[in-house]
Every structure is written in C-alpha cells, then in structure tokens.
C-alpha cells in the first residue's frame, strides 16, 4: 500500500518527460498520467483513512541517510484535492491552448508542476521541502510566463525573484535547525524541539520565507500581477494549489514541528496579518476592474481567513473543540482550492468568448454563456461562504473558535470579509445579466464549460454536504 507514495511522484514525472520527448502523443499521455495520478491519490486517501499514516523509504534507505516519503490525513486530503483540480484543468487546457505547438510547450511544465506539488506534500524532512519548494517555484514561474507579452514576463520575473528570496530565507532557517538539533526529519524534530532562541529564530526565518511565498498581506504584492496575467488554467492552479503548498508548510511547522515553541504573541501576529489580508484583499477585489484581478485579490483575502485560525488554535486546549477548528481550517482550504480553480476557468471561458474580462462590459454574459455564469455564481457561493458550501462549515468553525476563546476581533473580521465577498461576487453577477433572450441550450461548448462547473459544484455543494470525512481523516494528526 505504501508504494502509492512513490507512484504519486513517479507517474507525473514520467508523464512530463514523455510529453517532452514525444509531443505528438502528448495529449493522450497527459490524460493517462493524470488519471493514473488521480487513482493513486484516491488509493492513498483510502489507505490513510483505513490504516493511518504511511511511510515509504526510497530505495530501501532509511530516513536520515535516504529520502523518506510520508503521508498522513492532511497530506492525503490535499493530494486528492490537487488531483481533482489538475484533472479538470487539464481537460480545459486542451481547449484553451488550441494549437498543438502551444500544448507541446505547456504539457511538460504542467506535469512537472504536478510532480513538484505531490513531492512537496509527501516530503518528510525539511531539506526535501526546500528542494520541492524550489521545483514548484520554477515550474510555476515558467507556466506564468507562458501568457507571453511584457506584462506576463515582468510579473513572472518578479514572482521568481520573490520566490527565490523566500526559499533562501527558508534554507537559512533549515541550516539553523540542523546546527541546533542535528536532524532535519520533521517527526524527530517535533519530539526534540524546545522553546528557545534557536527554535524561535529558525521558525521566524522559515515562516518569513513561506509567508512571502503564500502571499500573506502585506507580502502579497507579487500575486495579483502574476496570477492576473497568466493563461487561465495556469492562474487556476497557481491560485488554488501553489500558494496552498506554502500555506501547508506553515501549518505543518506551526502546529506540528514547532508546536511547543510557538508563543501566543507570534500566533496573534499571524492573525493580525490574516485580518489585514481579509480586509485589504476583499476591498481590492471589490474595486477591481478586471475579472482576473478580482479573482487574484480574492485569493489574497481567502488565504487571510486561513491565517485567522492560528491564534484560535493557539488558545484552544487539545480536545474536541480544537479538532473541530483544525477540520474547519482544512475544509476551508480545500473549498477555496476547488472554488478558485473553477472561477479562474470560468473567467478564461468568458475571456475567450468576449475577448476581454472587463467587469463593466460583461453585459449579456449570462445569456451567451449560461453554464459559465452559473459556474461563476457557484464559485461565488463558496467564496462568500454561503451554505451548503464547504466554506460555510469552515467559517462556522472559525466563528465558533473565536467565540469560544473570546477573541471577538477575528469573528468581526470574518463577518466583514464575507460581506465584502458577497459584494464583489454580486457586482460581477449584476453586470453579467443583460436584456437579451435566453438561448435554448445551457451548455454551449461542453469540453470547455464542464471542468469549471464540476470544480465549482465540488466546492459549493459536495464539500459542504459530504465534508464529514475530513474531520475523521485528521483525527490522528495535528
């Protein structure tokens, strides 16, 4: 069963190399590799659910000397989300890049990004995390630059420099950890780390690097241009998955590896930055003139909610209330992944059919592309956090935690942020309706519109109604 761990890295990597060498059959290879990776992710999720966390030692070398891959409930859930987002996004990319030559350049990078994401989530030691972070950054930058034109290249270059700066900060923290504790294995570190200057400084440096990569306010300046000028399927995975990977690392470090060294003041600082992200991101999304920038600023805001959980988790004693909050946090992250990916794909379709994504000029989009507009609305439901979306349950736990620990400020920020989200979503929908008659068919181009519909339905309906297994899977970890 633990073989699945290596397959999750090997299949997309082999696919990436095959598409590079044999561009003629690339489309078929991507679909086959994507399906196989998704099946592997499903198998892993089932395995972790029934047998608990898994370890795979590459080449039989034990951890310390060799590289060990690890998966627990949290990483299995995120791996499943990655597969379920990448697969529809791959189908959509086939229509988005209509020329075979464009796709030949795109597929190898696409599968490499998938490989890096999977490898990052399966890494069990800090140095592997640094390497996979860099791989992820390189793949993401190359994909972001595919948009062509000056704006895209400039944004990609800035994205690369910010990413490098973040990784260097992370590596400096890693070297401190090795000097202090003599190991980089996260499970071993979680046992031996104690509060003190070494742990504090190392955690501060690694976190600073990761916050830069996860675009937490006020370090978000690079995200809107990079996500706003990339091709639609690329924006979708950058916003839905790539920033989540950096957030996942912050979560692991703060709640698991350095759990003993984290102080309430540090957790409050993350909360304050998160609150700034929620308010500023939502406000900028409301003022955005282009749909893609709206979606990008909404990502800044949605990441803010995830950071609001840190002061709550710090204050909650271990027990059912804390487990509920952790589950809410993960469910919120999963929901945002699906909703934002679907929203970006829908925006891509609007842009393709009307030639622009200016919000003021959307008039009649609901009549021309009813299914796409419906997908945007469903994504909006999840971003606002209306029931029955997964985000509703997540925000509910956020509010419950804030009330239980008496930290009313975070509850107020959540409510204001949700109101602003409702405002920016309804602003888009308001512009989308025109006075034309409705066509007889809802779906105009099936292969183009289905992926976005599937993703947003997942976020707005499935995760909310069938989100309970998330808590069960997280029972043993964090």
């Amino acid at each position: 069963m633990s073989d699945t761990l290596i397959w999750l890295v090997a299949i997309p990597l082999a696919g990436a190399l095959t598409t590079l060498l044999l561009p003629r059959i690339a489309d078929a290879v991507v679909m086959a590799a994507g399906l196989a990776t998704a099946i592997a992710a499903g198998t892993l999720l089932y395995g972790v659910g029934t047998q608990g966390a898994m370890i795979y030692e590459i080449g039989g070398w034990s951890a310390g000397l060799g590289i060990a891959l690890r998966a627990d409930g949290l990483s299995a859930l995120l791996l499943m989300m990655i597969a379920l987002v990448m697969l529809p996004a791959s189908v959509y990319s086939r229509t988005y890049f209509s020329k075979a030559a464009e796709r030949a350049r795109f597929w190898p990078l696409w599968l490499l990004l998938w490989t890096a994401l999977n490898a990052l989530l399966l890494s069990g030691d800090l140095f592997n995390l640094y390497v996979t972070l860099e791989l992820l950054g390189l793949g993401a930058v190359a994909l972001a630059a595919l948009g062509g034109g000056r704006a895209a290249v400039e944004a990609a270059l800035r994205y690369l420099l910010v990413g490098l700066l973040g990784s260097m900060m992370f590596l400096a923290g890693v070297s401190l950890i090795y000097a202090g504790y003599g190991t980089l294995d996260m499970t071993a570190l979680a046992r031996i780390v104690e509060p003190g200057p070494v742990a504090g400084t190392a955690l501060a440096m690694m976190t600073a690097g990761l916050l830069l990569k996860s675009a937490l306010f006020p370090l978000h300046f690079w995200l809107p241009p990079a996500h706003g000028s990339a091709p639609a399927p690329v924006s979708a995975v950058l916003s839905a998955l790539v920033v989540k990977a950096a957030f996942y690392l912050v979560l692991r470090l703060w709640l698991e590896v350095f759990a003993d060294a984290v102080t309430p003041a540090a957790a409050n600082l993350l909360g304050v930055l998160g609150a700034g992200a929620v308010l500023w991101g939502s406000w900028r999304a409301l003022r955005a003139e282009r749909l893609k920038l709206l979606a990008a600023y909404s990502t800044v805001a949605q990441l803010g909610y995830l950071f609001l959980f840190f002061p709550l988790l710090q204050a909650l004693p271990p027990g059912p209330a804390r487990e509920l909050a952790v589950g809410g946090l993960v469910l919120l992250a999963l929901t945002h992944g699906f909703a934002k990916a679907g929203l970006f794909l829908a925006i891509g379709i609007v842009q393709h059919h009307s030639g622009h994504d200016t919000i003021r000029e959307l008039d009649g989009t609901a009549q021309r592309l009813p299914a796409t507009t419906f997908a945007m609305a469903l994504g909006g439901v999840a971003l606002i956090g209306l029931p029955p979306s997964g985000a509703f349950l997540g925000k509910w736990q956020l509010l419950a935690g804030a009330v239980a620990t008496g930290q009313w400020l975070w509850a107020a920020v959540t409510l204001i942020g949700s109101l602003l989200a409702a405002a920016y979503i309804f602003r888009v929908l308001g512009h989308a309706f025109g006075h034309q008659a409705y066509p007889n068919r809802a779906v105009t181009v099936a292969s183009e519109e289905w992926p976005a519909l599937l993703l947003t339905t997942m976020a707005a309906v499935v995760l909310g109604l069938a989100g309970a297994p998330v808590w069960r899977l997280l029972e043993n970890g964090l």
Partner: protein, 95 residues
C-alpha cells in the same frame, strides 16, 4: 571565544544580510538576481561552518550534501531568471 568555525558562520550571516539588503532595496533587475545569489552564498557558508566537527573528526557530510543540492538549485533558478530578463529586454527593444 572566537573560533574559526564561528568566524566562518558569522561571515556567512553577514554575506547573507548584505545580499538580502540589496535584494530588497534595489530596483535594478540584474542587481537583484546577483544579490539573491550572494545571499545564497552566505547561507551555504553557514552550512559549511556547521559541518565542522573539530580537528579529529571528519566534517559532517549532510550539510555538504545540502550545499551541493543548493548550488544546483540556485544555478537553475538563476538561469531561468536570466532567460526571463533577456526576453523582457527583447520585448523592450521591439517597442
């Protein structure tokens, strides 16, 4: 007491800080790429200092392996940065 190991590590910190300062404060693209490389060199130097385990023992191989991997990563990232910068330059020339 200032040992050679500490001296190396502190110099590494200083180089890293210098690189970080330039990367944050200067707008020039090439300068920032170089600054990030300088910063990386500082981090690698700290790792090399950590590897020292006294005159009797051989140095710890793990930090060495980390530095080697780090150099490979830094070179590929720099290559990508330069490629993008060239592309940007070409687009400037076209206008």
């Amino acid at each position: 007491m200032l040992t050679a190991q500490l001296l190396y590590a502190l110099t590494g910190c200083l180089i890293m800080a210098l690189g970080l300062r330039t990367a944050l404060l200067h707008a020039s693209l090439l300068r920032r790429v170089v600054a990030i490389n300088v910063m990386g060199t500082g981090v690698f130097m700290i790792l090399l200092a950590i590897a020292y385990r006294g005159p009797e023992l051989a140095p710890d191989p793990v930090p060495h392996a980390l530095v080697l991997t780090g150099i490979v990563v830094a070179v590929s990232a720099t290559a990508l940065a330069l490629a993008l910068a060239r592309r940007l330059n070409a687009e400037h020339a076209d206008e």
